[in-house]
Amino acid sequence: MSLATLVLLADGRLPSGGHAHSGGLEPQIAAGRVRDIRELDGFLRGRLATGGLVSAAFAAAACGDVGRAAELDAGLDARTPSPALRRASRAQGRALLRAGRAMWRLASLPSREPHQPVALGALASAAGLTPVEAAVAAAHGTISGSAGAAVRLLGLDPYAVHALLARLAPECDRIAALAARRHGDPVDDLPAAGAPLLDIGAEHHATWEVRLFAS
Protein backbone atom coordinates (compact mmCIF):
# COMPACT_ATOMS: atom_id res chain seq x y z
CA MET A 1 0.00 0.00 0.00
CA SER A 2 1.00 3.61 -0.47
CA LEU A 3 -0.55 6.20 1.80
CA ALA A 4 0.44 9.03 -0.52
CA THR A 5 -1.29 7.26 -3.41
CA LEU A 6 -4.45 6.88 -1.34
CA VAL A 7 -4.37 10.57 -0.42
CA LEU A 8 -3.96 11.42 -4.10
CA LEU A 9 -6.95 9.31 -5.08
CA ALA A 10 -9.16 10.77 -2.33
CA ASP A 11 -8.10 14.39 -2.91
CA GLY A 12 -10.98 16.66 -3.88
CA ARG A 13 -8.67 18.36 -6.38
CA LEU A 14 -8.45 15.20 -8.48
CA PRO A 15 -9.84 16.41 -11.84
CA SER A 16 -12.68 13.91 -11.94
CA GLY A 17 -15.78 16.06 -12.26
CA GLY A 18 -16.81 15.89 -8.60
CA HIS A 19 -16.81 19.67 -8.10
CA ALA A 20 -20.02 20.02 -10.10
CA HIS A 21 -22.02 17.64 -7.86
CA SER A 22 -23.49 18.26 -4.42
CA GLY A 23 -24.23 14.63 -3.54
CA GLY A 24 -27.94 15.36 -3.27
CA LEU A 25 -27.49 18.32 -0.95
CA GLU A 26 -28.73 21.14 -3.19
CA PRO A 27 -32.36 19.91 -3.39
CA GLN A 28 -32.42 19.22 0.36
CA ILE A 29 -31.22 22.75 1.08
CA ALA A 30 -33.90 24.11 -1.24
CA ALA A 31 -36.53 22.04 0.60
CA GLY A 32 -35.39 23.63 3.87
CA ARG A 33 -34.15 20.36 5.37
CA VAL A 34 -30.51 21.41 5.68
CA ARG A 35 -29.97 24.95 6.93
CA ASP A 36 -27.02 24.95 9.33
CA ILE A 37 -24.02 22.95 10.48
CA ARG A 38 -26.10 20.76 12.80
CA GLU A 39 -28.42 19.73 9.98
CA LEU A 40 -25.44 19.22 7.69
CA ASP A 41 -24.06 16.84 10.32
CA GLY A 42 -27.28 14.81 10.13
CA PHE A 43 -27.24 14.86 6.34
CA LEU A 44 -23.63 13.68 6.12
CA ARG A 45 -24.15 10.89 8.67
CA GLY A 46 -27.14 9.75 6.64
CA ARG A 47 -25.16 9.88 3.42
CA LEU A 48 -22.34 7.87 4.97
CA ALA A 49 -24.67 5.18 6.32
CA THR A 50 -26.50 4.75 3.00
CA GLY A 51 -24.81 5.86 -0.22
CA GLY A 52 -21.44 5.90 1.52
CA LEU A 53 -21.73 2.28 2.61
CA VAL A 54 -22.90 1.14 -0.82
CA SER A 55 -20.22 3.12 -2.66
CA ALA A 56 -17.52 1.83 -0.31
CA ALA A 57 -18.61 -1.79 -0.73
CA PHE A 58 -18.75 -1.56 -4.52
CA ALA A 59 -15.45 0.31 -4.80
CA ALA A 60 -13.82 -2.32 -2.58
CA ALA A 61 -15.37 -5.14 -4.61
CA ALA A 62 -14.21 -3.61 -7.92
CA CYS A 63 -10.75 -3.07 -6.47
CA GLY A 64 -10.61 -6.68 -5.28
CA ASP A 65 -11.65 -8.07 -8.66
CA VAL A 66 -11.90 -5.68 -11.60
CA GLY A 67 -13.17 -8.62 -13.63
CA ARG A 68 -16.49 -8.24 -11.81
CA ALA A 69 -16.96 -4.66 -13.10
CA ALA A 70 -19.95 -5.40 -15.37
CA GLU A 71 -21.75 -7.33 -12.67
CA LEU A 72 -21.03 -4.64 -10.06
CA ASP A 73 -22.20 -1.95 -12.46
CA ALA A 74 -25.54 -3.73 -12.89
CA GLY A 75 -25.75 -4.10 -9.11
CA LEU A 76 -25.41 -0.35 -8.69
CA ASP A 77 -28.08 0.29 -11.32
CA ALA A 78 -30.42 -1.85 -9.23
CA ARG A 79 -29.51 0.12 -6.11
CA THR A 80 -30.01 3.52 -7.75
CA PRO A 81 -33.72 4.00 -8.44
CA SER A 82 -33.37 7.63 -9.56
CA PRO A 83 -32.41 7.95 -13.24
CA ALA A 84 -30.89 11.36 -12.49
CA LEU A 85 -28.58 9.83 -9.89
CA ARG A 86 -27.63 7.02 -12.25
CA ARG A 87 -26.64 9.59 -14.83
CA ALA A 88 -24.71 11.60 -12.24
CA SER A 89 -22.86 8.50 -11.03
CA ARG A 90 -21.96 7.40 -14.56
CA ALA A 91 -20.83 10.90 -15.56
CA GLN A 92 -18.51 10.94 -12.54
CA GLY A 93 -17.31 7.41 -13.28
CA ARG A 94 -16.39 8.43 -16.81
CA ALA A 95 -14.55 11.51 -15.56
CA LEU A 96 -12.71 9.44 -12.97
CA LEU A 97 -11.57 6.96 -15.63
CA ARG A 98 -10.23 9.87 -17.66
CA ALA A 99 -8.12 10.99 -14.70
CA GLY A 100 -7.15 7.42 -13.86
CA ARG A 101 -5.97 6.63 -17.39
CA ALA A 102 -3.52 9.50 -17.14
CA MET A 103 -2.25 8.38 -13.72
CA TRP A 104 -2.05 4.58 -13.83
CA ARG A 105 -2.39 1.75 -16.28
CA LEU A 106 -6.04 0.81 -15.93
CA ALA A 107 -7.54 -2.57 -16.66
CA SER A 108 -9.98 -2.29 -19.53
CA LEU A 109 -13.57 -2.01 -18.33
CA PRO A 110 -16.70 -3.21 -20.11
CA SER A 111 -18.20 0.31 -20.03
CA ARG A 112 -16.66 3.69 -20.78
CA GLU A 113 -19.17 5.19 -18.39
CA PRO A 114 -19.26 2.91 -15.35
CA HIS A 115 -20.82 3.90 -12.05
CA GLN A 116 -18.47 6.06 -10.01
CA PRO A 117 -17.67 3.42 -7.31
CA VAL A 118 -16.76 0.84 -9.97
CA ALA A 119 -14.44 3.33 -11.64
CA LEU A 120 -12.96 4.23 -8.27
CA GLY A 121 -12.29 0.56 -7.50
CA ALA A 122 -10.64 0.12 -10.90
CA LEU A 123 -8.36 3.11 -10.25
CA ALA A 124 -7.51 1.87 -6.76
CA SER A 125 -6.64 -1.55 -8.12
CA ALA A 126 -4.45 -0.09 -10.88
CA ALA A 127 -2.72 2.11 -8.29
CA GLY A 128 -1.84 -0.92 -6.19
CA LEU A 129 -4.24 -0.03 -3.39
CA THR A 130 -6.23 -2.56 -1.38
CA PRO A 131 -10.03 -2.96 -1.19
CA VAL A 132 -10.22 -1.30 2.22
CA GLU A 133 -8.31 1.70 0.88
CA ALA A 134 -10.69 1.92 -2.07
CA ALA A 135 -13.54 1.80 0.44
CA VAL A 136 -12.04 4.63 2.52
CA ALA A 137 -11.65 6.80 -0.59
CA ALA A 138 -15.26 6.07 -1.59
CA ALA A 139 -16.74 6.75 1.84
CA HIS A 140 -14.70 9.93 2.25
CA GLY A 141 -15.73 11.08 -1.23
CA THR A 142 -19.45 10.72 -0.49
CA ILE A 143 -19.26 13.20 2.37
CA SER A 144 -16.46 15.56 1.35
CA GLY A 145 -18.20 16.48 -1.92
CA SER A 146 -21.44 17.39 -0.13
CA ALA A 147 -19.50 19.24 2.56
CA GLY A 148 -17.78 21.39 -0.08
CA ALA A 149 -21.14 22.09 -1.70
CA ALA A 150 -22.54 23.16 1.69
CA VAL A 151 -19.80 25.76 2.02
CA ARG A 152 -20.74 27.20 -1.35
CA LEU A 153 -24.53 26.93 -1.06
CA LEU A 154 -25.10 27.93 2.57
CA GLY A 155 -22.04 30.09 3.12
CA LEU A 156 -21.17 27.96 6.16
CA ASP A 157 -17.92 28.64 7.98
CA PRO A 158 -15.40 26.39 6.19
CA TYR A 159 -13.60 25.72 9.50
CA ALA A 160 -16.83 24.53 11.09
CA VAL A 161 -17.45 22.26 8.09
CA HIS A 162 -13.96 20.79 8.30
CA ALA A 163 -14.33 20.33 12.04
CA LEU A 164 -17.43 18.30 11.23
CA LEU A 165 -15.53 16.22 8.65
CA ALA A 166 -12.82 15.58 11.25
CA ARG A 167 -15.43 14.37 13.74
CA LEU A 168 -16.88 12.09 11.05
CA ALA A 169 -13.51 10.58 10.06
CA PRO A 170 -13.68 7.65 12.52
CA GLU A 171 -17.20 6.86 11.29
CA CYS A 172 -15.88 7.01 7.74
CA ASP A 173 -13.18 4.47 8.64
CA ARG A 174 -15.71 2.24 10.37
CA ILE A 175 -18.12 2.24 7.40
CA ALA A 176 -15.22 1.59 5.02
CA ALA A 177 -13.96 -1.34 7.08
CA LEU A 178 -17.46 -2.78 7.27
CA ALA A 179 -17.88 -2.42 3.52
CA ALA A 180 -14.45 -3.81 2.66
CA ARG A 181 -14.94 -6.96 4.72
CA ARG A 182 -17.69 -7.90 2.29
CA HIS A 183 -15.82 -7.10 -0.92
CA GLY A 184 -15.77 -10.71 -2.09
CA ASP A 185 -19.49 -11.30 -1.49
CA PRO A 186 -21.83 -12.01 -4.39
CA VAL A 187 -23.14 -8.73 -5.85
CA ASP A 188 -26.69 -9.43 -4.67
CA ASP A 189 -25.43 -9.72 -1.08
CA LEU A 190 -23.50 -6.43 -1.07
CA PRO A 191 -25.03 -3.53 0.90
CA ALA A 192 -28.13 -1.95 -0.62
CA ALA A 193 -28.93 0.86 1.82
CA GLY A 194 -30.86 3.68 0.20
CA ALA A 195 -32.29 7.11 0.99
CA PRO A 196 -35.64 7.60 -0.78
CA LEU A 197 -35.74 11.32 0.02
CA LEU A 198 -32.44 11.81 -1.83
CA ASP A 199 -33.81 9.86 -4.81
CA ILE A 200 -36.94 12.01 -4.88
CA GLY A 201 -34.90 15.18 -4.36
CA ALA A 202 -32.60 14.25 -7.25
CA GLU A 203 -35.55 13.77 -9.60
CA HIS A 204 -36.99 17.16 -8.67
CA HIS A 205 -33.57 18.79 -8.94
CA ALA A 206 -33.08 17.46 -12.46
CA THR A 207 -36.15 19.40 -13.60
CA TRP A 208 -35.15 22.76 -12.12
CA GLU A 209 -34.52 25.55 -14.56
CA VAL A 210 -31.91 27.14 -12.30
CA ARG A 211 -29.51 25.00 -10.28
CA LEU A 212 -25.94 25.44 -9.17
CA PHE A 213 -24.87 21.78 -9.13
CA ALA A 214 -25.33 19.05 -11.71
CA SER A 215 -26.72 16.71 -9.03
Partner: protein
Protein backbone atom coordinates in the same frame (compact mmCIF):
# COMPACT_ATOMS: atom_id res chain seq x y z
CA UNK B 1 -1.67 2.47 -25.19
CA UNK B 2 1.09 3.65 -22.95
CA UNK B 3 4.44 1.90 -23.20
CA UNK B 4 5.51 -0.23 -20.25
CA UNK B 5 8.03 1.58 -18.09
CA UNK B 6 10.45 0.16 -15.59
CA UNK B 7 9.48 1.33 -12.12
CA UNK B 8 11.11 4.49 -10.94
CA UNK B 9 10.14 4.07 -7.32
CA UNK B 10 10.64 1.54 -4.54
CA UNK B 11 7.75 -0.64 -3.55
CA UNK B 12 7.07 -1.28 0.11
CA UNK B 13 6.57 -4.79 1.41
CA UNK B 14 3.16 -6.15 0.52
CA UNK B 15 2.46 -3.49 -2.11
CA UNK B 16 0.69 -4.78 -5.17
CA UNK B 17 2.66 -4.41 -8.40
CA UNK B 18 1.44 -1.63 -10.64
CA UNK B 19 2.66 0.48 -13.52
CA UNK B 20 2.38 4.11 -14.53
CA UNK B 21 2.01 5.62 -17.98
CA UNK B 22 5.07 7.22 -19.54
CA UNK B 23 5.07 10.80 -18.20
CA UNK B 24 5.84 12.35 -21.57
CA UNK B 25 2.87 10.74 -23.32
CA UNK B 26 -0.29 12.78 -23.92
CA UNK B 27 -2.55 11.67 -21.05
CA UNK B 28 -5.70 11.92 -23.16
CA UNK B 29 -7.09 9.14 -25.30
CA UNK B 30 -7.22 10.10 -28.98
CA UNK B 31 -10.71 11.46 -29.67
CA UNK B 32 -11.12 9.70 -32.99
CA UNK B 33 -9.00 8.78 -35.95
CA UNK B 34 -7.87 11.73 -37.98
CA UNK B 35 -7.22 15.27 -36.87
CA UNK B 36 -9.49 16.51 -34.09
CA UNK B 37 -11.27 19.82 -34.26
CA UNK B 38 -9.55 23.07 -33.40
CA UNK B 39 -10.85 24.07 -29.98
CA UNK B 40 -11.18 27.75 -29.19
CA UNK B 41 -12.10 28.92 -25.69
CA UNK B 42 -14.10 32.13 -25.25
CA UNK B 43 -13.90 33.70 -21.80
CA UNK B 44 -14.55 37.05 -20.18
CA UNK B 45 -16.55 38.86 -17.51
CA UNK B 46 -20.33 38.59 -17.15
CA UNK B 47 -22.19 40.60 -19.79
CA UNK B 48 -19.19 41.34 -22.00
CA UNK B 49 -20.79 39.61 -24.98
CA UNK B 50 -19.35 36.08 -25.01
CA UNK B 51 -22.60 34.41 -26.03
CA UNK B 52 -23.34 37.11 -28.59
CA UNK B 53 -19.85 36.54 -30.03
CA UNK B 54 -20.44 32.78 -30.22
CA UNK B 55 -23.74 33.43 -32.01
CA UNK B 56 -22.01 35.80 -34.44
CA UNK B 57 -19.26 33.24 -35.14
CA UNK B 58 -21.89 30.57 -35.77
CA UNK B 59 -23.54 32.89 -38.31
CA UNK B 60 -20.22 33.70 -39.96
CA UNK B 61 -18.62 30.24 -39.94
CA UNK B 62 -21.52 27.79 -39.64
CA UNK B 63 -21.81 27.22 -43.36
CA UNK B 64 -18.11 26.92 -44.19
CA UNK B 65 -16.85 24.90 -41.18
CA UNK B 66 -18.11 21.82 -39.36
CA UNK B 67 -18.83 23.58 -36.10
CA UNK B 68 -20.08 22.77 -32.59
CA UNK B 69 -20.37 24.72 -29.33
CA UNK B 70 -19.96 23.81 -25.65
CA UNK B 71 -21.39 26.30 -23.15
CA UNK B 72 -20.50 26.54 -19.45
CA UNK B 73 -23.16 28.39 -17.52
CA UNK B 74 -22.96 29.22 -13.88
CA UNK B 75 -26.30 27.68 -13.13
CA UNK B 76 -28.53 27.21 -16.10
CA UNK B 77 -28.54 26.35 -19.77
CA UNK B 78 -29.27 30.03 -20.51
CA UNK B 79 -26.43 30.45 -23.01
CA UNK B 80 -27.23 27.24 -24.86
CA UNK B 81 -30.89 28.33 -24.95
CA UNK B 82 -29.88 31.74 -26.36
CA UNK B 83 -28.05 30.06 -29.24
CA UNK B 84 -31.04 27.82 -29.90
CA UNK B 85 -33.54 30.70 -29.78
CA UNK B 86 -31.44 32.69 -32.18
CA UNK B 87 -31.39 29.74 -34.53
CA UNK B 88 -27.68 30.09 -35.26
CA UNK B 89 -26.91 26.40 -34.68
CA UNK B 90 -29.10 23.28 -34.52
CA UNK B 91 -29.60 21.74 -31.05
CA UNK B 92 -27.47 18.67 -31.75
CA UNK B 93 -24.42 20.92 -32.24
CA UNK B 94 -24.68 22.52 -28.77
CA UNK B 95 -23.82 20.98 -25.39
CA UNK B 96 -24.25 22.69 -22.02
CA UNK B 97 -21.92 21.81 -19.15
CA UNK B 98 -22.98 22.43 -15.54
CA UNK B 99 -20.27 23.86 -13.36
CA UNK B 100 -21.29 23.57 -9.69
CA UNK B 101 -20.97 27.25 -8.72
CA UNK B 102 -17.47 27.51 -10.16
CA UNK B 103 -17.27 28.28 -13.88
CA UNK B 104 -13.50 28.74 -13.83
CA UNK B 105 -13.00 25.29 -12.24
CA UNK B 106 -14.72 23.61 -15.17
CA UNK B 107 -12.51 25.31 -17.77
CA UNK B 108 -9.21 25.19 -15.91
CA UNK B 109 -8.80 22.96 -12.84
CA UNK B 110 -11.14 20.09 -13.65
CA UNK B 111 -11.88 20.05 -17.35
CA UNK B 112 -13.41 16.57 -17.40
CA UNK B 113 -17.03 17.59 -18.06
CA UNK B 114 -15.95 19.85 -20.93
CA UNK B 115 -13.76 17.15 -22.47
CA UNK B 116 -16.67 14.72 -22.19
CA UNK B 117 -18.93 17.23 -23.95
CA UNK B 118 -16.41 17.74 -26.78
CA UNK B 119 -15.99 13.97 -27.17
CA UNK B 120 -19.75 13.44 -27.20
CA UNK B 121 -20.17 16.06 -29.92
CA UNK B 122 -17.46 14.51 -32.07
CA UNK B 123 -18.87 11.02 -31.48
CA UNK B 124 -22.39 12.14 -32.44
CA UNK B 125 -21.56 14.44 -35.36
CA UNK B 126 -18.41 12.91 -36.83
CA UNK B 127 -15.22 14.87 -37.43
CA UNK B 128 -15.50 18.61 -36.79
CA UNK B 129 -13.32 21.54 -37.87
CA UNK B 130 -14.02 23.83 -34.93
CA UNK B 131 -15.40 23.54 -31.39
CA UNK B 132 -16.09 26.79 -29.54
CA UNK B 133 -15.97 26.38 -25.74
CA UNK B 134 -17.70 29.30 -24.04
CA UNK B 135 -16.89 29.82 -20.37
CA UNK B 136 -19.41 31.03 -17.83
CA UNK B 137 -19.11 34.73 -17.09
CA UNK B 138 -16.36 35.07 -14.54
CA UNK B 139 -13.69 37.56 -13.60
CA UNK B 140 -10.48 38.86 -15.12
CA UNK B 141 -8.44 35.89 -13.85
CA UNK B 142 -10.43 33.15 -15.62
CA UNK B 143 -8.40 31.39 -18.27
CA UNK B 144 -8.73 28.02 -20.01
CA UNK B 145 -6.56 24.96 -19.47
CA UNK B 146 -4.36 24.01 -22.41
CA UNK B 147 -5.65 20.47 -21.85
CA UNK B 148 -9.05 21.69 -23.05
CA UNK B 149 -8.46 24.28 -25.77
CA UNK B 150 -5.89 25.17 -28.42
CA UNK B 151 -6.44 28.94 -28.44
CA UNK B 152 -8.40 31.31 -26.26
CA UNK B 153 -10.25 34.54 -26.84
CA UNK B 154 -10.96 36.94 -23.98
CA UNK B 155 -13.91 39.30 -24.37
CA UNK B 156 -14.19 42.56 -22.43
CA UNK B 157 -16.50 45.45 -23.18
CA UNK B 158 -16.20 49.17 -23.41
CA UNK B 159 -19.07 49.68 -20.95
CA UNK B 160 -17.05 47.87 -18.27
CA UNK B 161 -14.79 50.93 -18.25
CA UNK B 162 -11.78 51.91 -20.38
CA UNK B 163 -9.41 50.98 -17.54
CA UNK B 164 -10.01 47.20 -17.92
CA UNK B 165 -7.05 46.58 -20.28
CA UNK B 166 -4.78 48.56 -17.96
CA UNK B 167 -5.86 46.43 -14.98
CA UNK B 168 -4.67 43.39 -16.89
CA UNK B 169 -5.08 39.98 -15.28
CA UNK B 170 -4.40 36.63 -16.94
CA UNK B 171 -7.37 36.87 -19.33
CA UNK B 172 -6.39 40.26 -20.77
CA UNK B 173 -2.66 39.59 -20.66
CA UNK B 174 -2.36 36.05 -22.00
CA UNK B 175 -5.39 35.38 -24.24
CA UNK B 176 -4.43 34.62 -27.84
CA UNK B 177 -6.95 37.24 -28.97
CA UNK B 178 -8.41 40.08 -26.91
CA UNK B 179 -11.78 41.31 -28.11
CA UNK B 180 -12.95 44.73 -26.92
CA UNK B 181 -16.69 44.66 -27.59
CA UNK B 182 -19.51 47.24 -27.63
CA UNK B 183 -17.45 50.01 -29.22
CA UNK B 184 -20.78 51.57 -30.25
CA UNK B 185 -21.32 52.41 -26.56
CA UNK B 186 -18.01 54.25 -26.15
CA UNK B 187 -19.44 57.79 -26.55
CA UNK B 188 -22.35 56.97 -24.21
CA UNK B 189 -20.16 55.73 -21.35
CA UNK B 190 -17.32 58.16 -21.89
CA UNK B 191 -14.79 55.43 -22.75
CA UNK B 192 -11.69 56.37 -24.71
CA UNK B 193 -10.90 53.63 -27.23
CA UNK B 194 -7.40 54.98 -27.87
CA UNK B 195 -6.60 54.54 -24.16
CA UNK B 196 -7.88 50.97 -24.29
CA UNK B 197 -5.83 50.28 -27.41
CA UNK B 198 -2.65 51.73 -25.89
CA UNK B 199 -3.10 49.83 -22.58
CA UNK B 200 -3.89 46.57 -24.37
CA UNK B 201 -0.69 46.88 -26.42
CA UNK B 202 1.33 47.59 -23.29
CA UNK B 203 -0.13 44.55 -21.50
CA UNK B 204 -0.14 42.16 -24.42
CA UNK B 205 2.98 43.09 -26.38
CA UNK B 206 2.66 41.25 -29.73
CA UNK B 207 -0.61 39.44 -29.01
CA UNK B 208 -3.49 40.77 -31.14
CA UNK B 209 -6.43 42.88 -29.95
CA UNK B 210 -9.54 43.68 -31.99
CA UNK B 211 -12.29 46.25 -31.45
CA UNK B 212 -15.78 45.08 -32.19
CA UNK B 213 -19.39 46.17 -32.03
CA UNK B 214 -21.54 43.09 -32.26
CA UNK B 215 -24.57 45.34 -32.49
CA UNK B 216 -23.18 46.61 -35.83
CA UNK B 217 -21.16 43.62 -37.06
CA UNK B 218 -23.40 40.62 -36.51
CA UNK B 219 -20.84 38.27 -38.05
CA UNK B 220 -17.92 39.41 -35.87
CA UNK B 221 -15.78 39.74 -38.99
CA UNK B 222 -12.32 40.33 -37.44
CA UNK B 223 -12.74 37.42 -35.01
CA UNK B 224 -14.14 35.11 -37.69
CA UNK B 225 -11.15 35.96 -39.90
CA UNK B 226 -8.74 35.20 -37.05
CA UNK B 227 -10.35 31.78 -36.58
CA UNK B 228 -10.38 31.09 -40.34
CA UNK B 229 -6.63 31.69 -40.40
CA UNK B 230 -6.11 29.28 -37.49
CA UNK B 231 -8.17 26.55 -39.14
CA UNK B 232 -6.34 27.06 -42.45
CA UNK B 233 -2.91 26.82 -40.77
CA UNK B 234 -3.97 23.70 -38.93
CA UNK B 235 -5.28 22.03 -42.06
CA UNK B 236 -2.11 22.93 -43.95
CA UNK B 237 0.04 21.43 -41.18
CA UNK B 238 -2.09 18.27 -40.96
CA UNK B 239 -1.98 17.83 -44.74
CA UNK B 240 1.78 18.36 -45.03
Amino acid sequence: MHPELPHQHEHGPGEAPHTHPEPGVDPHEPLHTGARALRVGIGGPVGSGKTALVAALCRALGEELRLAVVTNDIYTTEDADFLLRNGVLPAERIRAVETGCCPHTAIRDDISANLDAVEDLEAALGPLDLVLVESGGDNLTATFSKGLIDRQIFVVDVAGGDKVPRKGGPGVTTADLLVINKTDLAPLVGADLSVMDRDARARRHDLPTVFLSLAEDRRATPVADWIRALVATRTAVAGA
